[in-house]
C-alpha cells in the first residue's frame, strides 16, 4: 500500500475527512510557490500539485490560466521534482504529495523513468487526467514498482461496470469527478452529483475523494458526508490569482473555513462504516 492509501485509511479509521488542496506548480511565481505550498499543506491531509501543460483539455479557464503563467516562468517537470526533493529535505511539507499531470510531460522525462525520479522527490501518487484504465496498465506497474499510487478518475458518465473496474484498479483513493465537465468553480451541485457519489459509495470500499467545482464551506458540508475527502482546486487558485500582493494570506483565508466545515463533518457513523 502506498503513502496515499495509508493516509486515507488512517483518516477513515479516525472518522475524519481529507482536505486535498490543488495548486499549480510554480504559480503565482516560482519564488513564492515553495512557501505557498508549505502554508497550504498545513490545511491539507494530502496535497495535489499540478504540472503545467500547454494543452490542459480537462481544465477550465482558471487552471488554463495558472498553467500558462507557470509555463511562461519556465516551470518544468524537472524543476518541480527538484523543488519537491528540496522541500522534503526541509521537512516543510508533512503530508503526502500527489502530482497531477497530463501524460505527455511524464513521457518526455529524458533522464530516467518518471516514476523513479518522482519517488526520489518523495511524490506519493500520480493523477493523470488523460489516462483512462484502458491505457493505464504499464503506468500502474511502474507506479507500484516505486510504491506509488496511481489514482484514476470516475465521472458521472461512467457506467457501473466501468466504475467497478476503475475503482478496483485505482490506488490510494478514487477521484470522483463531481459533474460532467471541466474543472472550475460551480455555484451549486445538482441532485445528480449526490446520486453519483452514493452509487460509488455502494460500489466500492476504496476511499473516495470528490473534486471539480468545489469552492464554498456549505458545499463541503453537503458533499463530505458522502465521501472520504474533497479536492479544492480552481477556487483556491482563483483567490491566489486575485491577491498578487499577498497570495499566501489569501490562501489561508480561503482554506480556514473549508477546513472547519470539513472537520465538522466528522461523524460517529463514518467511523462505524470504516470498520
Amino acid at each position: 500500500m502506498g503513502e496515499v492509501a495509508t493516509r486515507m485509511t488512517a483518516l477513515q479509521r479516525a472518522g475524519k475527512k481529507a482536505l486535498v488542496p490543488f495548486v499549480t506548480a510554480g504559480f503565482p511565481t516560482r519564488d513564492v510557490f515553495p512557501q505557498l505550498l508549505e502554508e497550504v499543506s498545513r490545511f491539507a491531509d494530502i496535497i495535489e500539485i499540478g504540472v503545467p501543460f500547454s494543452d490542459p483539455l480537462a481544465d477550465g479557464p482558471v487552471i488554463q490560466h495558472t498553467s500558462q503563467v507557470a509555463l511562461e516562468q519556465g516551470v518544468t517537470l524537472p524543476w518541480i521534482l527538484e523543488m519537491l526533493a528540496d522541500q522534503q529535505a526541509r521537512a516543510s511539507v508533512s503530508v503526502p504529495v500527489v502530482l497531477m499531470s497530463y501524460l505527455n510531460p511524464l513521457l518526455q522525462i529524458s533522464d530516467g523513468d518518471f516514476f523513479e525520479r518522482a519517488r526520489r522527490a518523495n511524490v506519493a501518487g500520480v493523477i493523470i487526467p488523460d489516462l483512462p484504465v484502458e491505457e493505464g496498465a504499464p503506468y500502474e506497474i511502474a507506479a507500484r514498482d516505486q510504491q506509488m499510487d496511481l489514482i484514476y478518475l470516475i465521472a458521472p458518465t461512467t457506467s457501473q461496470e466501468r466504475a467497478r473496474l476503475i475503482a478496483d484498479r485505482s490506488q490510494g483513493f478514487v477521484y470522483l469527478v463531481s459533474i460532467t465537465g471541466v474543472t472550475g468553480a460551480r455555484d451549486a451541485f445538482p441532485a445528480e452529483t449526490f446520486d453519483f457519489l452514493r452509487r460509488m459509495r455502494a460500489l466500492t470500499n476504496k476511499p473516495l475523494c470528490v473534486g471539480f467545482g468545489i469552492s464554498r464551506p456549505e458545499q463541503v458540508r453537503q458533499l463530505a458526508p458522502e465521501v472520504d475527502g474533497v479536492i479544492v482546486g480552481s477556487s483556491l487558485l482563483r483567490v491566489i490569482m486575485e491577491a498578487p500582493s499577498d497570495p499566501i494570506r489569501a490562501a489561508q483565508r480561503m482554506l480556514t473555513p473549508l477546513r472547519r466545515a470539513l472537520d465538522e463533518s466528522w461523524s460517529p457513523s463514518s467511523v462505524i462504516n470504516a470498520e
Binding site: F53, S54, D55, P56, L57, A58, G60, Q64, Q68, L71, T76, L77, P78, Y102, L103, N104, P105, L106, L107, Q108, S110, P129, D130, L131, P132, E134, E135, Y152, L153, I154, A155, P156, T157, T158, S159, R162, I166, V177, T180, G181, V182
Partner: protein, 400 residues
Amino acid sequence: MHYGQPDERGRFGRFGGQYVPETVMEALLELERQFQSAWHDEAFRRLFHHHLREFVGRPTPLYFAERLTEALGGARIYLKREDLCHTGAHKINNCVGQALLTLRMGKRRIVAETGAGQHGVATAAVAARFGLECIVYMGEIDMERQAPNVFRMQLLGAEVVGVAEGSRTLKEAINAAIRDWVTNVRTTHYLLGSVVGPHPYPVMVRSFQAVIGEEVKEQLLEREGRLPDYLVACVGGGSNSIGLFYPFLDEESVQIIGVEAGGRGPGLGEHAATLSFGTPGVLHGAHSFLLQDRFGQIASTHSVSAGLDYPGVGPEHSFLKETGRVTYVTVSDREALEAFEELSELEGIIPALEPAHALAFLRRLIPRTSKEDIVVVGLSGRGDKDLQLARQAMEEYHHG
C-alpha cells in the same frame, strides 16, 4: 500482404490509443460500437453513398493536367478534384458520414474545430442539411486569415466561437471543442475533422475519406488500365492524404508521398512538419508524432496554410512513417505559393494553399520520373478562401 491496421484497440503499431478524460470514455466506446455497426450495415453504406452523390457531388473527376504535365516534362499528372466537392474541400466526405452517425446515435448537437475553416464550413453545411445544432470553435488568428469562411459558417446557421488562448489556431480550437464535448457529452457529438484524436476517430475518418482513393483506383483503371506509380498529397492532420493512400497501401508498386508544411524553415515554431521534425508523444487523445519542446510542452507552429498549421498528426501516418511505407517530405511557404500561382495559370484551377504544398513537390518529383509514369495528386480543396492571404504573401515575395 494485407495491411490490416488498426488492431481492435485502435492501435497502428505503437501509435493511436484513447488518451482522453474519463468523462468522455463512455461516449467514445459508444461511438466505436455505433461506427462498427453502421459501417457493416448495408443500409447505412447506401445512405452514405447516396448523400455523397446527391449532396457532395461525387464522384469527383480525376483530371489529367495536360499543361502542367507538359511544363514539368515528365510523368503524366492527374489531379483528384476534391476542390469540386460541395463546400470546396474533401472535408465534407467525413462530415456526411459523421452527421449520419450522429443521427443514428440520437444526438442533436455537434461541435467541431476548424483551422482553415473548410472543416467548419462542411460541418455547418451538413448540420443545416440534417437539422443539427452546430457550434464551431476557431482560433482568432484563423478567423482573421480565413474570414470568408467565418461568414459562410454563420450563414449556414452555425455558431462560430473564437478561441483566444495560446497560439489562437487549430490546436486551441481542438482544445475548446474537446472541453465543450466533455461538458455536453450526453447530448453532443464531437465531429472531428481529421484522422487525429482518440480511437475510433482515426479509423472512422479514414473510412469516410477512403472514397477518394477508391474512386481514383477505378477512374485510373478505366483511363489508363493500370495503377499509378506515385501518389502525392498534403498532410495536416492527415485525412485527405490517408483517404487517397489507404486503398493503395497494399499495392507495393505504388510509391506514396505525404507533403508537410515546411513553413519558413526547420527551426521549432517555424513550420508544421510534424513527421519530418517531430518526436512521439500524446496530444488530443492519441500517441503519435508531435512538435514539442524537450519537456513535453506542445510547440507553436507556422504555416502559410491554416489547414496544415497543427503540431500533431494522425497516428496512422506515424505508423506509415516508421514502417517506411509512406515517405514524408516538406515544402516551404514560398514553394507552396509558387505552385498556387502555377496551377492557376496553367490549368485554370485555383488550389487551396494546403494542396498547393502537394503540387509544389512535383517540381522535385517529376524530374526523377519518365513520361510513361503516372502521378496522382490529391487536390484537396479550392483556393477561394486563400485569395486575400495569397495576394498579400505574393506581393511580399515579389517585392522582398
